[in-house]
């Protein structure tokens, strides 16, 4: 009995190790991948973790807050982050890159979009939608007792910014802007309203699971241009800035600058790492709606797309 056990242990510990290739990592220092708490970043980071680990790099996933990351990247506590959203992180990211301690590693692929969004059933009560001018006429359809007769617009957490108070003012929309505390609290309200087919208009962004599960549309505001946020005379209201929609934007990869010297090949792989917007959407759906584990979904992707990611790692494959 005892002997079988020992043999079993030995078999388990030695049996499966098969080197992926003859590649030797440049350094055995740990590469620290940053993970914030939304699903697409978790999945993408896990995929990168699988790739880098397969080539023998020592990798660690570190949980860090979206906006609290910059000191970590400047000091080398964090090495790589796969998602930096222009829509919310633009200023902080640009400032951090300007210090010279952080590298812009190029775009990940998917485009971020965020703006006022409403469920399709609201078009019955406000037939002019999605044109933004309709909101002037039927604000009352979106009212709550404490905001009536004005409409109630649910904006994101205060820290997201977004200039919604200014937008309401500039476009003359009879709405009161209410900030939600967190992302989760915001979508909890959407779900509650959607289940009852109750009026709601709120800040939605994608890639996210909500727009793929709930049927609805973004409001068509005048299209964003940088001039809209900087020059009052631009746009429908000649006396105010922010008389347009929110910017759409890139999602970029970022890295600790000094790491380039330590793991040049790993940095090469990260630069080549790109995902398609729909592909990410499908993976997020698996995790958030089907309730599957992040690691399981990432490993499945890695197995199905082995040729693709081995192509990104040309420096390690030769």
């Amino acid at each position: 009995m005892k002997k079988t056990l020992i043999t079993a242990v030995a078999a388990l510990s030695v049996g499966i190790v098969t080197p992926a290739s003859a590649f030797e990592p440049e350094s055995d220092q740990t590469i620290k991948l940053m993970m914030a708490d939304w699903s697409s970043m978790l999945i993408n980071t896990e995929i990168l973790n699988i790739i880098l680990s397969t080539y023998g790099y020592d990798v660690e996933k570190v949980i860090a807050d979206d906006s609290a990351r910059y000191p970590g990247f400047e000091s080398g506590d964090l090495t790589i982050a796969l998602e930096t959203w222009q829509t919310t992180q633009d200023a902080a990211f640009t400032a951090s890159v300007a210090t010279g301690k952080v590298l812009d590693m190029g775009e990940l692929g998917p485009q971020a979009k965020e703006d006022w969004w409403y469920p399709s059933y609201m078009e019955e009560q406000c037939p002019g939608l999605p044109d933004w001018k309709a909101l002037r006429e039927c604000a009352e359809a979106f009212a709550a007792p404490e905001t009536a007769p004005k409409g109630r617009y649910l904006s994101g957490p205060v820290s997201w910014g977004g200039f919604d108070e200014e937008r309401v003012e500039a476009l003359g929309l009879p709405f009161e802007v209410v900030h939600s505390g967190t992302d989760a609290a915001m979508f909890a309200e959407l779900r509650a309203a959607y289940e009852r087919k109750a009026p709601i208009i709120l800040w939605v962004y994608k890639p996210h699971w909500a727009p793929s599960v709930y049927d609805g549309k973004f409001v068509d505001f005048p299209k964003y241009e940088p001039a809209c946020y900087e020059d009052a005379s631009w746009g429908v209201n000649p006396d105010a800035k922010y008389d347009c929609g929110k910017p759409e934007g890139w999602i970029k990869k970022m890295a600790w600058a000094e790491g380039e010297e330590i793991w040049p090949c790993a940095y090469d792989i990260v630069r080549n790492f790109t995902m398609d917007g729909d592909e990410v959407g499908a993976l997020v759906y698996e995790v958030d709606v089907e309730g599957r584990g992040v690691e399981e979904v990432a490993m499945e992707w890695a197995k199905e797309n082995e040729a693709k990611w081995r192509g990104w790692a040309a420096c390690a494959e030769k």
């Binding site: 499966i16 699988i50 080539y55 807050d65 609290a68």
Partner: protein
């Protein structure tokens, strides 16, 4: 003699009151005619304290140092040292020995088997306490394993164990020092009070700057939060050691160290156990926030589940935290109880052998039968769909009446009260609070309160602070109105004590977000949801102190009252209530503290007050404003503390007078 003196003093005080009152009333009526400087804090008076704090901390984290060794080097070394035992515990408990990663991942050795760990701990529970605790341990272990939470729970346990041990050792060390030197004690008490009341979000960023990301940063933040009760308990416990015992030690020729280790600490164990209980509770209370900065484990799973609005999964993971908390707490309490009742010989060598055998055998078998190492995924139980369905059902069927309650409360009570506070001139509020301080605690209290008020005003956080005060006041009022009467009612019904205790522990350790998000579905983002969150958390101390206050009424007094023919109501009104008053006031104090510490969590459902300022500066990565807004929360807490402690001291004196 002493009596007449006291009476005279009371008379002098009341003459003072008679002069002050008309002045106060006159000022209140004059308030609408105040010049602008007196109604709202003028901009030129606001000091850029948050900039100073931010720059100071950046300097500390980047440049401060002596002789080539920077301060950050020291903290980084500490972080690395703390990481080693956490990693080691994680390997043993949660992950097993893993080599390679990605496509080459190999599990060289499994973690300890869940069945082995559960049975071994159950054996400990049986020996220390008895069948009841053994059953509780078994149920908790099975729950974690069968619901697929085992690995996460063990990850959490690894860091919780280290936190508890660190807080225990540090708390004892600081407490012993403070006990020996009165001057140190005053200083330590002040620091601990601030540490306990500054919201944890406000020092998360500095912690990250100094200790880097990962479990050790979470460890340090948690220890800061959980340390104060241990220090307070240590000082109290050592002070309560009877003088005769110490003299005996001196006469038998004990050295100072011997007295401490062989006499004072063993005698103090029961009171130390109260401190340990608080440490365990507060550490587990922190699990969610710790997981935001890299501790992982159950807290992270709760956050993830809630993010995809899977309330049921969030609830299950949250109950996992509760299970850990309750088992840990009951085990340490039983051990402390045995220590103080001199119950020895409960644990024999045979038990050690048996426990080790359970661990080793099941772990070895898990090589052959994998489900002993990790419960198979296909067989995990879940009740999540039920909870999710229940939330949706309530949302569809009961939304209208619930919304009517929310609207009425918001429009009739909450908004008017908030607007009143915001419209009242800051000088008038300051004057009223200082006057209250003077009336309750004399000049010293009045000056303390004034200094704290000025800090809030001059750092520019007066308005958010008033919104915090409005939310806290309402929440505390509701929590007390529910909690105290319920606690008093339960106190005379011993068979409810155990279940009520379990419910209170659940309320204090179940992550608030777990029930806060379903509340948001029904009550939307905003102050009403926040009020629910704060009340549900602050109601626990109200009940606890309601129970404790009634329990400690001396039985002679109650008997005397019965003999002199008091009705039950008279006994309650004239005997029990006055003699419980000091404890009840402490309960009010603790309720206020708990309510204030929940403000930051309330910010997560969209409030606009100090908690939001703290949370927003955390997410924006601004160190200075976060700390200063956090200190403002501490100021409010300390003002409430000063006023209530003075009131409690007064009630205790009063009580002494009557029965002297």
């Amino acid at each position: 003699m002493a009596d007449t003196f006291l009476k005279e003093q009371v008379r002098a005080r009341s003459i003072g009151d008679w002069i002050a009152l008309p002045v106060l009333i006159a000022v209140i009526f004059a308030a609408p005619f105040f010049p602008a400087v007196l109604t709202s804090v003028p901009n030129w008076a606001i000091l850029p304290v948050s900039d100073w704090v931010g720059e100071g901390l950046n300097w500390l984290a980047r440049d401060a140092g002596v002789g080539g060794v920077t301060f950050a080097d020291v903290t980084r070394a500490l972080a690395a040292a703390a990481e080693a035992p956490i990693d080691w515990l994680k390997i043993v408990l949660a992950e097993g020995w893993v080599t390679g990663a990605g496509f080459n991942k190999v599990q060289a050795a499994p973690p300890l088997s869940w069945l082995g760990v559960t049975l071994a701990v159950a054996l400990v529970a049986l020996r220390l306490s008895g069948r009841g605790l053994m059953l509780l341990t078994l149920v908790s272990g099975l729950y974690l394993a069968l619901f697929g939470l085992w690995v996460l729970a063990m990850t959490t346990l690894a860091s919780v164990l280290l936190c508890v041990v660190t807080a225990l050792v540090l708390g004892l060390a600081i407490g012993i020092r403070a006990y020996r030197s009165p001057r140190t004690e005053a200083f330590v008490r002040a620091v601990m009070n601030v540490m306990q009341t500054v919201p944890i979000f406000s020092y998360l960023l500095p912690t990250l700057l100094l200790f880097g990301y990962g479990p050790s940063a979470a460890l340090f933040a948690t220890v800061v939060y959980a340390l104060p009760p241990m220090v307070h308990a240590t000082v109290l416990a050592l002070r309560s050691v009877p003088q005769e015992t110490l003299e005996l030690a001196r006469m038998t020729g004990c050295s100072r160290a011997q007295t401490l280790w062989k006499v004072e600490l063993p005698v103090a164990v029961p009171r130390l156990a109260i401190g340990l209980n608080q440490v365990v509770m507060m550490t587990l209370n922190m699990v969610i926030i710790a997981s935001m900065i890299g501790a992982g484990g159950l807290g992270y799973d709760v956050l993830r589940a809630l993010r995809r609005l899977d309330f049921g999964a969030g609830f299950e993971a949250g109950m996992g935290i509760v299970a850990l908390a309750v088992v840990l707490d009951r085990l340490t309490q039983a051990a402390a109880h045995n220590q103080s009742t001199q119950a020895v010989g409960l644990w024999r060598r045979r038990d050690t052998v048996l426990a080790l055998a359970l661990l080793i055998i099941f772990t070895l078998f898990s090589f052959v039968i994998p489900s002993l190492g990790l419960w198979p995924k296909d067989l995990t139980l879940t009740t999540a769909p039920f909870w999710n369905g229940a939330v949706s059902f309530i949302n569809r069927e009961f939304y209208d009446p619930l919304d009517a309650i929310r609207t009425a409360m918001l429009l009739k009570v909450m908004n008017p009260f908030r607007d009143l506070l915001l419209a009242t001139p800051w000088t008038l509020i300051g004057l009223l609070v200082c006057f209250a301080g003077y009336a309750l605690g004399g000049k010293r209290a009045a000056l303390t309160v004034m200094a704290l008020l000025l800090f809030i005003a001059l750092t520019g956080y007066w308005e958010p602070a008033m919104v915090s005060v409005y939310l806290t006041t309402l929440a505390v009022a509701i929590a007390l109105a529910i909690g105290l009467p319920f606690g008093i009612w339960v106190s005379s019904r011993p068979r409810f004590h155990q279940p009520v205790q379990l419910v209170l522990d659940t309320l204090q350790t179940l992550p608030t977000l777990v029930y806060l998000l379903p509340a948001v579905m029904l009550f939307r983002n905003g102050d009403f949801s926040a009020l629910i969150a704060v009340v549900s958390y602050a109601v626990a101390p109200a009940v606890r102190y309601g129970m404790a206050g009634m329990k400690h009424v001396p039985s002679e007094r109650v008997e005397a009252a019965a003999m002199s023919g008091c009705t039950p109501w008279q006994t309650f009104r004239f005997v029990r209530l006055p003699s419980a008053m000091p404890t009840l006031l402490l309960g009010v104090n603790q309720t206020v503290m708990m309510a204030l510490s929940m403000l930051v969590i309330a910010a997560l459902v969209g409030t606009r007050e100090l908690g939001q300022e703290v949370y927003t500066s955390l997410t924006r990565g601004e160190v200075g404003p976060g700390i200063v807004a956090g200190l403002c929360v501490a100021c409010i807490a300390l003002i409430a503390d000063t006023l209530l402690k003075s009131a409690a001291a007064r009630a205790a004196r009063h009580e002494g007078d009557i029965h002297a």
